[in-house]
């Protein structure tokens, strides 16, 4: 494999790489000026569409297509929301971009706003990123001073203001309509769809919500061209007409039990094994991997034998995972208990479930309590079936919840129990030798009697 030169991360390690001067020296803002000087918004949409760029926030929806859902000839305002509420466990690629190359992100935002005819962009930043906050605010101030933001940018009739908004740290604020609700000052309960945000979003106006890394990709596509972007990654599967392909570079966040954890840029389609071996220096302490999370905890688990799966948008799904997600690869070594892993995962989702839909609110909390009991040595084999049933029935896919949080909670549960059932059964039998086989139901009346 030819060595890949980082593009999105090119400012990393460059002294003062986060300043506007450094960014311009790398060719930044020139594409913006060219665009403003001679192109129409539709040209930018066409460029992004033909590049095959898919949203980097987790769902992988084609960005250009998303923009075309905006109503034509809308009198405005149209809003662009940038999702920097990076809260998927294991994910930190947005933070690197915001801290080390904020102007790349801002140029992407300006180009995207130009394309979508938005004159206001809100950047929703998670509270735990103070450094990103300072760097972004400084960069926004620089961009205003340089005339890339504000009224009538570069003498055109295009105006744009970017507002930096800090969230109050909740996982659900990363869901696009939850983010919109939060931005409006409300409790971040995801909205029911339709209407989709492109029709009725922030303040009931047409809204596009994009991820930070997507914005950086837009800036790079404008600078290096569609052909460059399409030359990287995995082309669309001709046998599957619904596969739009996985093009471009991707930031992989490698963490867990590896020698060199970090944020690495690689072409989409690198396999998990390549990533761990070539970038991460292998599993730590010479051990073997037991399981790998392909893209954030909510995407599920790959076993060691599935590590040759390409980490593109279609790959993890082929081995039973939910998808590529945020491409946060977490390695779990062979000395780690999957029961512990699942308990930790369940604890996270029970804590972060927004509590709106019954199946998710009660399902995440019930599964946590089942796992707590298993860990306390009171597990029964029957509990695994209940956990699987909860996992199979909660989420957007079976239709039982409004947003995908429940799917994210269900997937690690389903994957862990299906792929590591033996380990769960051994654990339960070992820790509960006298009761693991009990299947008696708890009669409802017994509970009433307690009062």
């Amino acid at each position: 494999m030819t060595p890949f030169k980082p593009v999105l991360l090119e400012a990393v390690g460059v002294p003062d790489g986060h300043t506007i001067a450094s960014y311009k020296s790398r060719g930044g803002y020139a594409p913006l000026e060219a665009t403003l000087a001679g192109k129409q918004p539709t040209d930018v949409i066409e460029m992004v569409k033909s590049s095959g760029l898919r949203g980097r926030g987790g769902a992988g929806f084609p960005t250009g297509l998303k923009w075309t859902f905006l109503p034509k000839d809308h009198p405005g305002p149209i809003y662009l929301c940038i999702n920097a509420d990076e809260s998927e466990p294991g994910t930190f690629n947005n933070r690197i971009l915001m801290e080390d190359d904020p102007h790349q992100v801002i140029e992407g935002i300006i180009l995207s706003s130009f394309a979508t005819r938005a004159s206001t962009a809100y950047l929703y930043l998670r509270y735990e990123y103070p450094q990103s906050w300072h760097r972004l605010q400084a960069a926004i101030d620089e961009a205003y001073a340089a005339g890339y933001l504000g009224q009538n940018i570069r003498g055109t009739n295009f105006s744009l203001d970017i507002y930096l908004h800090r969230g109050a740290a909740a996982y659900i604020c990363g869901e696009e309509t939850g983010l919109i609700e939060s931005l409006e000052g409300k409790r971040a309960w995801p909205r029911i769809k339709p209407p989709f945000p492109a029709i009725e979003g922030l303040f009931r106006k047409p809204t596009v919500v994009n991820n930070i890394e997507t914005m950086a990709c837009v800036a790079q596509i404008a600078r290096r061209g569609v052909d460059w972007f399409k030359s990287i990654g995995v082309p669309a599967d001709p046998a599957n007409p619904r596969d739009p392909g996985s093009y471009g570079p991707k930031l992989y966040c490698l963490s867990g039990h590896v020698e060199r954890p970090g944020c690495y840029e690689a072409p989409l389609g690198i396999t998990a094994r390549e990533l761990i071996e070539q970038f991460g220096g292998g599993v730590w302490k010479g051990r073997k991997a037991k399981a790998v999370i392909p893209g954030g905890i909510s995407m599920g688990l790959m076993t060691e034998s599935e590590l040759d799966t390409p980490l593109d948008f279609a790959g993890p799904g082929k081995v039973g995972c939910l998808g590529l997600g945020t491409a946060a690869v977490v390695v779990i070594d062979d000395q780690t208990s999957i029961v512990d892993f699942l308990h930790n995962s369940a604890r996270f989702f029970a804590h972060e479930s927004c509590g709106q839909c019954t199946p998710c609110r009660e399902g995440t909390s019930w599964s946590l309590r089942l796992l707590e009991r298993i860990k306390a040595g009171k597990g029964r084999l029957k509990d695994l079936d209940i956990l699987l049933e909860i996992g199979n029935t909660m989420g957007m896919m079976p239709g039982s919840t409004i947003c995908g949080l429940a799917d994210g909670a269900a997937w690690p549960m389903k994957n862990a129990i299906k792929k590591f059932r033996g380990e769960f059964e051994d654990y339960i039998k070992r820790t509960n030798p006298s009761g693991w086989m009990v299947t008696d139901p708890v009669p409802a009346l017994q509970i009433v009697g307690a009062h």
Partner: protein, 546 residues
Amino acid sequence: MPVIIVDGQEIEIGADERLNCIEAARRAGKEIPHYCWHPGLSVVASCRMCLIETGQRDAASGKITMVPKLVPGCQTPVKDGTVIVTESQLVKDSRARVEEALLIDHPIDCPICDKAGECLLQDYHFQHGQPERRADLQPFHSRKRDVGPTVTLFVDRCIMCTRCVRFTREISGTAELMVTSRGAKEEIDVFPGHPLDNKLSGNVVDLCPVGALGDKDFLYQQRVWFLKREANVCGGCSAGCSIHTEHNQDAVYRLKPRENPHVNKWWICDEGRYGWHHLHDQARIREASRKATSLSHRGNAAATPATESIEWAEVVVKLRDDLKAAGRLAVAVSPMLTIEEAWMLCAVARSIDPEAFLALGFVPTHGADESFPGGFTIRSEKCPNRKGVEEVLALYGAGGHSWNDLLAHVTAGKADAAWITAGYPGPWIDTAAADTFADLKQLVVQDLFDSPLMRLATWRLPATGFAERAGTWVNVAHHAQSFRQAIRPPAGIWPEGRLFWNMLGRRGLYDATAVRQQIATSSPAFAALAGELPVTGVDLRIRQLA
């Protein structure tokens, strides 16, 4: 006309009707269970109890394509060719799981819960739940939280449907209630220092599908399965909200709003909701009596200031005699009376004195009309039937005569006797106004409670309250609603209608419907009241426009 297919059964809906699957299925006789959806509130689709399977039938080929997952019935609009499946195994399993999930954190303290018997969680559990409880977790206890002067929150019984929260945001516009915490630890609460004390607060109790919100006025007073309900109309103001009077053994226990799209939608105000306690007030006037001074056989007036009670059968005869003997009669027709009662009263008065001066009784008002964002209005006029009484008076050529006109008439010495019907739940007249009537030969006062006027009366007659009478009221928007008697008045009290009926010499028991038919045929203004009235009432102006 669009055709919807519900469980294989085709039904037609109106071309411009915008229905969701729950409403459409109801037309086909299928009830889709739901907690969070309410026709008067915004759709949140969060309880997930109404999950169903849907599909679309292609108009040309007739081929049905199903959506490959469950969808919430509340959130899914129907259109021509929509296919709704409410009874598949997938749907049944999903309902059973939602029921199971809701009961995980529910204390299941039905034996001590006021809602038991009318609780959706109970009903749905028996209809859609599963008998086995798989979650062997200790449920919470029934923590209680005071959220306002009228409502108590039983925190752990809540199933987080957020109907109450949406009500305070969308209908009352006061937004006192909110959701705190996250996930299964979520609770309903009020903002610190801002209790739930708006004028519509009681509605959140009706909205609550489970026993989480308790009405302090009703808490632990009665088991709901002992209550009987009568479709009634609130007499608290001229809005004339449709209500259910819920009662047992002639005692009212609570009032509930009755859905009426023309009047109050699904709501009533707290003033109306709790405005029934005067019915059971011990201070009520409970018997007909006559001032002894006016009885010649009693001799010296100064020696016998007291009153003597008098049998109703005697009232019918002697009241007429006394008034006839007195001479010129002035009558105040109370806006608390039904139009039937008002009509008969006018007839009685004119039969005693063909020149009797008829006027609208005292109209109590308080403040100004108060409207809420949800479209609900509390009227300043605290009587239910001013419009109706005015129309009746117009029939007798007394249209436009007000209470002040009556006072002026009496002050001018144009009357020898007055018959004042009142029936107001609170104090309404001061001594100065009452003294206007001091010099009359006969003063008949018909009221619920003692008053300065009552003390001057030569004839003291008890009145009845709103749930104790039958008849028709016409609200401020000319909307007429008929209702039946919910409870009997306390022993010894004849409802006004019965007295007037007997004074007119009519046979049998007082029949408000017969009187209404008579009024309807005698006047074009009341033509809309002919025949059987719908439970939601009619607009009196309908037939006049035609």
